[in-house]
């Protein structure tokens, strides 16, 4: 019984954590390319879910068509955001960037509210909702979709960043913008790319999680913060450490809720985050040398 419980906590935590991881990677990609913490990242998660709903219900598209349309539309949103809010900024101090992305997130949320109303909506699961037993625990098919798609996205990411020219150029740019310019990489293009990728990833996260959690115009805030946490735990890397960061956060939350106190579970997550920042500001897996100050 005790083991079954633990298994259930772990499984629930993993699927929540996978979402945090996807959002967290979105944060890291933009951060590495531009040095910006994009507080509007959570809104792309919301857009993913809301747009899927829009294509499903209003345009009556089948789900397999609605999803790519939603991702594409959210990505366009990301491009617009970069072009209209980030690029024209004259004094791009960190504080101004924080405020402009917060302003952007309020704006996007407001637009979504006006367009689609304040109601919460359900989205049908991709393949039924008959629980599947794993050991003494149960999961839904959607959980498997979440884990599966997360793995695929991370694999695609890995492939992109390590095996394509454009991906390598982005890493080069993240490491040393000036040298990247000197070999002919257009830095502004890479910044735009980073917004494209992370808005698309945010949207995917929003879509795969929507059948479980439902969507409303205001779901982005908290998810965004948790994703940010995951990215910090992972040391702002756009790779596996942020994934681990997300999973650890998800599992800790789930265990915290199950074993300690459900009321304080978010507090537990944030206390761990604070301790981590105090003791290892470079993230749980970062090397001490790559200290970011």
């Amino acid at each position: 019984m005790q083991f079954d419980q633990l298994l259930q906590y772990a499984l629930s935590g993993l699927s929540t954590g996978a979402i945090y991881a996807l959002i967290g990677i979105g944060f890291s990609i933009i951060y590495n390319a531009t040095g910006i913490i994009n507080f509007a990242q959570g809104e792309f998660v919301m857009l993913g879910g809301m747009l899927t709903l829009f294509f499903l219900e209003l345009l009556k598209l089948p789900i397999w068509a609605a999803i790519p349309c939603a991702v594409a539309a959210a990505t366009v949103g990301g491009i617009l955001f970069e072009r209209l809010a980030i690029r024209p900024l004259r004094q791009a101090t960190p504080i101004n960037l924080v405020i402009i992305t917060i302003g952007g997130s309020i704006l996007i949320r407001g637009l979504a509210m006006l367009l689609w109303g304040k109601d919460t909506h359900a989205i049908p699961p991709f393949s039924g909702d008959e629980p599947i037993a794993i050991g003494g625990a149960t999961v839904l098919p959607q959980h498997l979709w979440i884990l599966g798609i997360t793995v695929i996205i991370i694999a695609i990411n890995k492939f992109y960043f390590f095996h394509t020219i454009s991906g390598k150029a982005m890493r080069a740019c993240a490491y040393n913008r000036r040298a990247a310019g000197l070999v002919g990489i257009d830095v502004r293009r890479m910044v735009l790319f980073s917004f494209v990728i992370s808005s698309a990833m945010g949207a995917v996260a929003g879509i795969i999680v929507a059948p479980l959690t439902m969507v409303a115009y205001d779901v982005g805030g908290m998810l965004g913060l948790k994703g940010f946490c995951a990215a910090i735990i992972g040391g702002m890397s756009s790779g596996i450490s942020t994934v681990l960061g997300g999973l650890i956060l998800g599992v800790l939350e789930s265990l915290g809720a199950g074993l300690i106190s459900s009321g304080y579970k978010d507090a537990i997550a944030f206390i761990i985050l604070l301790l981590l920042l105090f003791l290892r500001p470079q993230g749980l897996f970062g090397k001490a040398e790559s200290e970011r100050v």
């Binding site: 390598k168 080069a172 490491y175 310019g181 070999v183 002919g184």
Partner: protein
């Protein structure tokens, strides 16, 4: 091939280049020497578009490149090997070289051609081939310098700008690097603008040289002439103290 006419550049409030003019002919190796802070690096960065000129004119193959962005200038055939190497440390040696050819990939040049050039870089620097899958950050300073040169060559430049390739390197390594530059010139006939503090090594390699001091070109001439010029030594070490002290 390259003409720099009366260029003035500012770093914030510092007037780093004062009416600097120089010229390079096709196939020439020209060196720019002078003490630190003389403005040598600034010239290279101004040519590369990193720190644009406030006034003056730069033309490459009779085309103006004065106000272009760095990536456009690379596209026209000017590659810089920056001071302090600045290789992409988290990327492997091979990836670094691929990044050098970034624009060629973007203009969808055949991968085979690019790989052929990579093999040529490996021929020049066999040590890079041994370490092709190693992360650039884990290599020694000399190897990183070789990689930086290789990376710049991958763009198939017509003009190579080299910024202090000997900086912080042990004498033996410096010798090796200069030997490679010599070979590079023999094999490809590449035009090179070499910024060096190590004046002897640079002048030995170069056809011509310019001497800079506090943002100005104070001397120019054939390499062997400059080698003998006492003024060069003065530019480095200050005027001789033997003659009446206090002047």
């Amino acid at each position: 091939m390259l003409r720099v006419n009366n260029v003035n550049t500012y770093y914030g409030k510092v007037h780093a280049l004062k009416d600097v003019s120089l010229a390079l002919g096709e196939g020439e190796i020209v060196t720019l020497i002078g003490a630190n802070g003389a403005g040598k690096t600034t010239i290279l960065n101004t040519i590369s578009g990193v720190t644009p000129a406030a006034s003056g004119e730069i033309s490459f193959r009779s085309e103006s490149v004065t106000a272009l962005a760095p990536d456009r200038i690379v596209k026209l055939g000017i590659s810089q090997v920056p001071e302090g190497r600045q290789v992409f440390k988290p990327l492997s040696v091979e990836d670094n070289l691929e990044m050098g050819a970034y624009l060629r990939y973007r203009s969808s040049e055949k991968t085979a051609a690019i790989h052929k050039d990579m093999d040529q870089v490996f021929r020049l620097f066999p040590r890079l081939e041994e370490r092709r899958n190693q992360l650039a950050g884990t290599m020694s300073g000399g190897e990183q310098q070789m990689l930086a040169i290789g990376r710049a060559m991958m763009a198939k430049p017509k003009l190579l700008l080299l910024d202090e390739p000997s900086m912080g390197l042990a004498p033996l390594v410096v010798q090796e690097i200069f030997r490679v530059l010599e070979r590079l010139r023999q094999e490809t006939g590449m035009t090179i603008l070499l910024v060096e503090q190590n004046a002897k090594a640079a002048l030995k390699l170069a056809d011509r040289g310019y001497v800079m001091e506090t943002g100005k070109v104070i001397l120019e001439g054939m390499a062997d002439e400059l080698m003998e010029n006492a003024e060069v030594k003065r530019a480095y070490l200050g005027k001789e103290q033997k003659a009446a002290p206090g002047t």
